[in-house]
């Protein structure tokens, strides 16, 4: 009983809202360089003129995740673009003027600032050498070579009304669908640099245009909408923090296209930290950045917490579920099917579903990890028990053992090698999956992987990927040792 109470308290504290400080301003950002820079600028601007502590949740994901997080109050402010707001959030691509968008957003209790000063619209880019070879200057020039073009476009660009499809219609282009790849945005730069593709979508202020010597094709028909950068906030935040909102609005009109492109280049090419770039822009000192040892230690703690809690959950819940699945056939099949179904939901989609329920940060990440680690434990408990020789159970009954004694003294020990293998699988999988939790601000080793991916910066990716791999190896070793301790010796030794 005491143990049950302890577990209940543990789970209770885990899901209580205490993990979010009551009075702090949470700044979010999307998962690409410019959004990180803008998020950092917002954070430092508030920090330098206000006493309210700032909580950074930078690099959380794409528009959908940020918008859900904002609505739920998991974040207070994030930078976005007028075109994105009209298309992806309001679903009203016909809204062109700032006032129209402002009005429509206000109905959703959201407020936007005036433009920050630059327009970062979609654009198409090819390699300079490719452009010269085929004499390309504008999008329309693609027509003569359209059937042979290999392209890589981001998921968002492919799916938006004002993206890929509309562009083809507007320019009467026909690309070969076999040669058009959907790709994570940061990877498409790698692809065009390697010569794997000829054409990619870019943001017009992206520093990699310069770095990789790409030529942006002119949108001579003016197809792509205006993508003015603005701050987006909840109305309740603006009302409760008028001072801080004013600080942010001071930045309106202050960031030119060139300034933004330079800052992006500093981050992407010179690998200067976002904090330093933002500080330079604001004319202040960069806030203290932690040393890399400290950073890895903090991430290790975050990662261990994510993996540890989900593992504890999968054991506490998964083993009884596995036992139940054996005992009650119909329920058992339902349990197994449900936990298998969870595995088929892509982790990013699952995280997205969980934001409306649990907000952003550690909570939804833990819920997702718990769900993912359930199947191996339930399935192996089920399989392990089913494989126990029925004669041992019958003998135990003949000796007068009751149901609980048979379960704990005979069935579970005999099934323990298989069960432990399931727990091991769950652990190693969740060490890997936990890196995705960084997408919704849960930290851990995923944070440098996510930002490194956004920056196309391999060393940064490695500062997350290597510790994660090491953790998986350590987990493997720990389970070898645990196996020696937990599995009854009679089942381990071979004659």
């Amino acid at each position: 009983m005491r143990r049950a109470a302890l577990i209940a308290a543990l789970l209770g504290s885990l899901f209580s809202p205490a993990s979010f400080a009551a009075d702090s301003i949470v700044i979010g950002s999307k998962i690409f360089t410019e959004s990180y820079v803008l998020g950092e600028i917002a954070a430092q601007a508030i920090e330098s003129s206000s006493r309210v502590p700032v909580n950074r949740k930078l690099g959380m994901g794409s528009t959908g995740i940020l918008f859900e997080a904002l609505k739920k109050g998991a974040i207070d402010v994030y930078p976005d673009y007028t075109g994105t707001l009209a298309e992806a959030i309001l679903k009203r691509p016909d809204l062109k003027s700032l006032e129209e968008i402002q009005q429509a957003l206000l109905k959703m209790d959201l407020v936007i600032s005036a433009p920050l000063g630059f327009n970062n619209t979609y654009a198409l880019a090819v390699k300079e050498s490719f452009a010269q070879k085929h004499n390309l200057h504008s999008i329309g020039d693609l027509a003569p070579i359209q059937s042979g073009i290999k392209a890589a476009f981001s998921y968002e660009f492919m799916d938006r009304q004002d993206g890929y499809r509309g562009m083809l219609d507007s320019y009467h282009l026909k690309l070969d669908p076999q040669k058009v790849n959907r790709m994570e945005h940061s990877l498409s730069f790698q692809a065009i640099d390697d010569g794997a593709v000829d054409l990619i979508d870019v943001y017009s202020t992206d520093a990699k245009i310069k770095k990789l010597d790409l030529r942006v094709l002119k949108d001579d028909r003016g197809y792509f909408p205006s993508y003015q950068a603005v701050w987006v906030a909840r109305k309740s935040f603006v009302d409760s923090h008028p001072g801080e909102w004013k600080i942010l609005r001071r930045l309106e009109g202050s960031i030119s296209e060139q300034a933004m492109l330079d800052m992006n280049a500093q981050a992407d090419i010179q690998k200067i930290s976002f904090a330093k770039i933002a500080a330079q822009f604001l004319g202040s000192d960069a806030p203290d950045t932690e040393g890399w040892m400290k950073q890895i230690l903090r991430r290790t703690k975050e990662h261990l917490w994510l993996v540890g809690v989900s593992l504890l959950f999968s054991v506490i819940v998964g083993i009884p579920l596995g036992v139940m699945a054996v005992r009650f056939h119909a329920t058992g099949q339902a349990i197994l099917m449900l936990s298998a179904l969870v595995q088929t939901v892509p982790s990013l989609a699952l995280l997205c579903f969980l934001i409306p329920l649990f907000g952003v940060g550690t909570k939804p990440a833990l819920v997702a990890l718990c769900l993912y680690s359930l199947l191996p434990v339930v399935l192996n408990t089920f399989t392990g028990i089913r494989a126990v020789d029925a004669k041992h159970v019958e003998n135990a009954r003949a000796f007068g053992m009751n149901r609980m004694q048979i379960l704990f003294r005979v069935i579970l020990p005999l099934a323990s090698p298989t069960m432990l293998a399931g727990i091991k699988t769950a652990t190693i999988v969740s060490i890997g999956t936990a890196t995705l939790a960084a997408l919704i601000g849960a930290g851990g080793y995923g944070a440098p992987i996510v930002s490194g991916l956004a920056l196309n910066d391999v060393p940064t990716i490695l500062t997350g990927a290597i510790p994660a791999a090491v953790m998986a190896l350590v987990a493997h070793a720990v389970f070898e040792v645990t196996g020696v301790l937990l599995i009854p010796a009679g089942l381990r030794k071979r004659p």
Binding site: H392, N395, A398, F399, G400, M401, L414, G490, L491
Partner: protein, 255 residues
Amino acid sequence: MNYAISAMLKLQNITKTFEDRQVLTDVTLTVPAGATHALIGSSGSGKTTLLRITLGLLPFDKGYVKINDQALLSFTQREWSYRIGYVPQDGGLFPHFTGKHNVSLIARLRGWKKDRIENRVEELRKLVELDAGILDRFPQEMSGGQKQRVAIMRAAMMDPAVMLLDEPMAALDPLIRRILQRELKSIFQRLGKTVLLVTHDLGEAAYLAEQITLLHEGRVLQTGSYSDLLLHAADPFVTLFINAQRSVPDIKELR
């Protein structure tokens, strides 16, 4: 070394039907206190079903099982298990426990004190003449004969009135089988318990038991001594069954 409790085991008119198949019909069998009785029959004769019924593991349609006039149905499984010590086929030791752990498992679950357990295990170890070190081994590190002895210790641990052995020699090779048969006989004598032995081997039955019951297609064909079965067969199948067994001992050897 004789133990206090020994009792008569009585099975009366046991009838058992699985769905529409009648597997036991009016089986009656009596083992007097302290006697050794063999239940013999080919596979499919119903002897395993009768064994499970006697252990209280399987409900039956008709008849009763009694130990000293106390009926099986008036007890819980746990209470009944005190009265019958069971030695499963091949010993049936739990592979995840050492020999000693196997022997003492039920005593510990019943809350026996450590000293009492130690004394009882030591007493039984001497009785079955097992080397002390063997009890610290896991079943898979024991020979067939060692497993069998540990299983007998486990069955006798709680001092039951009746011992039930299922094919005790089935998995052993013939030579060891011969040696162990002799030892088993003396163990039975020293234990002084009522023993019901289930086997398909007539030689074993004749050697170990005073009385033999031959079960065929769920019915008792004959109960009697080996010579009764041999000389006064109650049914042509009895003779058929006896002749089919290869190593039938000479009748003089038994006298």
